[in-house]
Symmetry: C2
Subunit: 323 residues, 2 copies
Amino acid sequence: MERLAGLGEDGLLALIFKRFARQRRPGLLLGPGDDAAVLRLAPGRVLVATQDDLAEDTHFELRWADFRRLGHKLFRINLSDLAAMGDVEPIGVVVSAGFPPDAPRRWATDFLQGLSDDVRSFGTPVIGGNLTRSSKVFFSMTALGAARPGRILRRSGAKAGDILAGVGPLGAAAEGLKLLKKGAAKAGGRASRPPSGRASAGRDAAGGPYVRAFYEPAPQREAAAVLAGKRLATSLIDNSDGLARCAALLAEASGLGAAVDLADAPVDGDPDAGEDYGLVFTVPPGRWPALRAALPLAYRLGRMVPKAKGTGAAGGYDHFKGR
Amino acid sequence: MERLAGLGEDGLLALIFKRFARQRRPGLLLGPGDDAAVLRLAPGRVLVATQDDLAEDTHFELRWADFRRLGHKLFRINLSDLAAMGDVEPIGVVVSAGFPPDAPRRWATDFLQGLSDDVRSFGTPVIGGNLTRSSKVFFSMTALGAARPGRILRRSGAKAGDILAGVGPLGAAAEGLKLLKKGAAKAGGRASRPPSGRASAGRDAAGGPYVRAFYEPAPQREAAAVLAGKRLATSLIDNSDGLARCAALLAEASGLGAAVDLADAPVDGDPDAGEDYGLVFTVPPGRWPALRAALPLAYRLGRMVPKAKGTGAAGGYDHFKGR
């Protein structure tokens, strides 16, 4: 099996430059291959910038990881953060990858293939990045977007009485993760090498909806554009660390509490387990009919209440404490 | 000793928001604390974006690392990449950090102190980022800059006959790294916990020039602005992976070779060992007197030659092969 040490940094860089050389996008003045990328924003637009990471043993394990699909996931969790700011057009991503020198070459080429798939899917170019040796695999991405200043929605802005609502899955990604772990356990525990490409660990891995929810969350760009464009929402966040935490963060940002009620919500698994990457937002009650007309898949999650009454402290996933 | 798991993600985030809440900068519309940051570029400016990382066991070892100074280093290696594009004003940085849950709280607070020091030193705000659990420590930064399109210098653009030149140290960082390793070895080999704050491993650590060159490389923003503003240089790169590699990359980008001659260069150690973060650039011979007048510390490093004659293949540091 060919290792990254055999290919070398220059060999891998050559593959990267070849793969991302033909990206064309209005405003992309200089893409990968120099010390930095150069972009021009359209007139009247402000820059929106966010960063999110995937780390071995925390977000994935080598015994079941599919590096192509990790490329998808890294892309999408970052585009989800842009969507969480409202009507934001993604204009480019910058990607860092750390691999051990004895990593199979496929880990890197599969990961690049995943990025490349999503460059096409989302029309958003990889404009630069960094490669480094690292004893554990990690990926870091910065996503850059452009928006009209009036089309940005923040975490703050809700009023008591606003409806708490969402779009996207609840608990599906966590179910997918369970399936991936179960599949890997069945396949004989710790494999030293993860599967490559589309064929993958676990019966459900290739295309099952839960595993897809885990690996290929759908950034809610269109929904966010509707929420921001028609000023239907008063505050907005993406659902990355679980519903309880999102609701608490929205509430806290507006000095409120949140009373969560899941009766109308399409729950697939533990909604507080995180990694679902839908949107959670607040809507004045009078705007709810217009919102449902514009976004038929939006569902109620409860109501914003004065601070003393609702969930005060943030629940959900804490990276250092665990849950 | 307090661990990150005791402080928790929310505790650490609270420290971060508190530390970076009071940053004010024209164009910074929304800093840390939401899903993404929002910046406005000055009229006529394009966006310049770059990313660089520091990974445990590759860029630093726990037995000698000083996390405050790693904060400095991460900031500076990224600002160096912006300087490598010419007259670029840094407008913000986005930072990811991965720590194990049992890491001492000081690792994170020292790192934040280092970032905070450099926010002040460079007038460049931390506008966002991400925190994650990771079995090995890693840091990733994206630096964003603004430039007039005519003030950008690329790796390509040199002509045969151009003088190859530089500013900044050559080999000093590698000497600093040797001192840090020697200091740690003397202090009794593998310490499970690195030192914190200013007092540090090795006699030279606190303020010696070599260790400073390793931890606190000086981004050459002013020199780069002169090179780009007066069109003195035809091509430009920063010296991150060693002189041989820089020269080869500049040569390759212009379809040339590079004949390196160190007779006039201020060499402190192995110039090909990397991490010096000066600038390497090419200058038409007729512009050399003007360049020396504008940048008295610039030195000659050789000459650009037709492809067959000079160093063809890239030397220097390869992250996956080693040297």
